[in-house]
């Protein structure tokens, strides 16, 4: 049985459905991420799981039991708030002891567990400090320690790293993965940062406008987006309007205005004649002065329209056919050389047929 099951959750504010029929199952021990743009209903969904808000319809089941009538303090679910919500009038140690005190645990045991929790997050010498005296990263760790100290079944994290700077964020991401493995508690993690979601999660639910667009493993989400929104939201992606002329067993032939015929992988289904987009990741496109055509590849001649030097890679925008722009990446492996091609240079680009996926409208 899944640890947490959401069945067709709906939550509207007036006429506006912030969460619009969300269903999902979250397994025990999973690092599960809700990913989506601002305002797509992630926090609203999390608040219903925590018990601060109730769905207008639908069910929330924990271990198969309906949670709707259970107040937040009775749910074995803890939240790490985006603002951390550390109690400013209590010391770090008192903050961490709070959930244990609420459970009427004896003084001696509380002290011991608080000490352990402080050790776990490497803040043993900060127990007597007040939250206001800590750095952002330290507060983050106190919030985690406080939420985990009483061993909840499920931990909800609402953009916990959003307030930290890049470097610290990367470090905390690694710590989060390790911590989750160590404690074995199920995490539901909310973020609008797709790289973070891909790096951390076992599974990701991509949300948009209160609905789940796709629920899959990170590599599936990245490589096989189910629709235009997911392809566009996760990473950068060339989205080229296309029409299916012939759909075979495994491959299909697409007709693209101004470019001609392109071979792509058939995602399945009867698609002949349908319109949509060809989604093509820039890093899957080869670019060179001349490229030998291998079997199963699409190849086009064009010229460099523009380029962007990014440090580790250079992004080339190549114009092929009549007015079709395709982004391709080239790693800058040779030192001291910001680019290989200049704007206007003639180039060839190619990609394997299965690098592109056709997304039906």
């Amino acid at each position: 049985m899944a640890l947490l099951e959401l069945r067709n959750i709906v939550r509207s504010f007036g006429d506006f459905a912030a969460v619009d029929g969300v269903s999902m199952m979250i397994e025990s021990g999973e690092f599960f991420t809700l990913l989506g743009p601002s305002g797509c209903g992630k926090t609203t969904l999390l608040r219903m799981i925590a018990g601060f808000d109730a769905p207008q319809s639908g069910e929330i089941l924990l271990d198969g039991k309906d949670l709707v009538a259970t107040p937040p303090e009775k749910r074995p679910i803890h939240t790490v708030f985006q603002s951390y919500a550390l109690f400013p009038h209590m010391t770090v140690a008192q903050n961490i002891a709070f959930p244990l005190r609420m459970r009427k645990i004896g003084k001696a045991e509380i002290n011991e567990r608080v000490k352990e929790a402080l050790d776990d997050v490497r803040l043993s010498d900060r127990g007597g400090r007040f939250p206001g005296e800590l750095s952002g990263g330290q507060r983050q760790r106190v919030a985690l320690a406080r939420a985990l100290v009483s061993r909840p079944r499920l931990l909800l994290l609402d953009e916990p790293l959003a307030a930290l700077d890049m470097k610290l964020r990367e470090q905390m991401q690694l710590e989060l993965i390790n911590l989750q493995k160590e404690v074995g508690i199920t995490f539901i993690y909310v973020t609008h940062d797709q790289t973070e979601a891909l790096a951390l999660s076992h599974r990701i639910a991509v949300m948009n406008g209160g609905k789940v667009e796709q629920l899959d493993e990170p590599s599936k989400i990245y490589d096989c987006p189910r629709n235009r929104f997911v392809a566009d939201f996760i990473g950068t992606c060339n989205l080229i309007e296309a029409k299916v002329t012939v759909a075979g067993e495994e491959k299909m032939v697409l007709e693209i205005d101004g470019l001609g015929e392109v071979t792509a992988r058939n995602p399945g289904g009867e698609l002949t004649g349908s319109k949509g987009v060809l989604a093509l990741r820039p890093e899957k496109i080869k670019i060179g002065q001349q490229i030998a055509l291998e079997s199963g590849e699409n190849r086009f001649r064009g010229k460099v329209h523009d380029f962007l030097y990014m440090g580790d890679v250079t992004v080339y925008i190549v114009e092929v056919g009549e007015g079709v722009h395709i982004e391709a990446l080239l790693p800058n492996s040779a030192a001291g050389r910001p680019r290989i091609f200049a704007a206007g240079d003639p180039v060839e680009i190619s990609w394997r047929y299965d690098a592109g996926v056709f997304l039906n409208d």
């Binding site: 937040p72 303090e73 939240t79 708030f81 709070f98 959930p99």
Partner: protein
């Protein structure tokens, strides 16, 4: 140039506010019956004050009323402020704030009519009830502004970590708004102790308070004794306001 202008107008404003008060304070130490010219320094008006039975009685009444009224108004006002914050009702805030804006004389008259209608003998009790009534709104505002400045997620975090609604209030919300409550209480105390208009209407014949006593004395003449008692009253209220602004800077300074 604009900077100097700003400084000058600032000084002018302070002079305008405090010069009359300085004069009162100065004359309270003046060794003359007349508020006309400086004769010499004396404590004698303060001594006279502490030998004046009517004055002492009025001061005792004022203290009793201010303590009782500010305590009751603090309890009720805190509950009102919490309700205003918690349940975003449309009309309630207006209804609780309105008495602060309604002319005091109206409040005084209406309270007088009300007490007569319910057959309550005018005296200490009627004054105290009136003071509670007009102080609640002030306390509610101060407490509400303190609550508004508090991170919403703090009491939620408490609930999330296993606290009942009451525990969340007692262990998290209350300690965080306590400075606001205390500031509200001090504000209520200072409002009550120097209220004249409403007290005047609800006092009846028996009871007198310091402001009423001062008023009845200046009907004859502004004696140095009045200056002395005014100075003491001013010192007390100033002291309380300074403390209130110390413990809850934002709610008193109207941040």
């Amino acid at each position: 140039m604009p900077k100097r202008l700003l400084a000058a107008s600032g000084i002018a404003a302070y002079l305008f506010l405090y010069l009359p008060l300085v004069i009162v304070v100065a004359y309270s130490f003046n060794d003359s019956r007349l508020n006309a010219e400086w004769v010499g320094f004396t404590w004698r008006w303060y001594k006279a004050l502490f030998e004046d039975d009517a004055m002492l009685k009025a001061a005792g009444n004022s203290l009793f009323i201010a303590l009782t009224a500010s305590f009751a108004a603090t309890v009720l006002g805190t509950m009102a402020g919490y309700a205003l914050h918690r349940y975003r009702l449309r009309l309630l805030p207006v209804l609780i704030m309105a008495p602060l804006a309604i002319p005091e004389i109206l409040v005084g008259v209406s309270l007088l009519i009300f007490f007569v209608a319910v057959n309550l003998t005018l005296g200490l009790l009627s004054i105290t009830l009136s003071h509670i009534a007009f102080c609640i709104g002030f306390v509610a505002i101060v407490v509400r502004s303190r609550l508004a400045g508090m991170d919403e997620s703090l009491p939620e975090a408490a609930r999330d970590l296993g606290a009942s609604p009451w525990q969340a209030f007692r262990l998290v919300t209350f300690p965080l708004i306590a400075p606001g409550i205390l500031a509200g209480a001090l504000l209520a105390f200072t409002l009550s102790i120097d209220d004249f208009v409403i007290t005047f209407f609800t006092a009846g014949v028996g009871a007198s308070t310091l402001p009423l006593q001062i008023y009845s004395m200046i009907k004859i003449a502004v004696t140095p004794e009045v200056n002395a008692v005014s100075t003491l009253l001013m010192l007390l209220t100033l002291f309380l306001i300074v403390i209130a602004s110390r413990i809850s800077p934002d709610s008193v300074r109207g941040k």
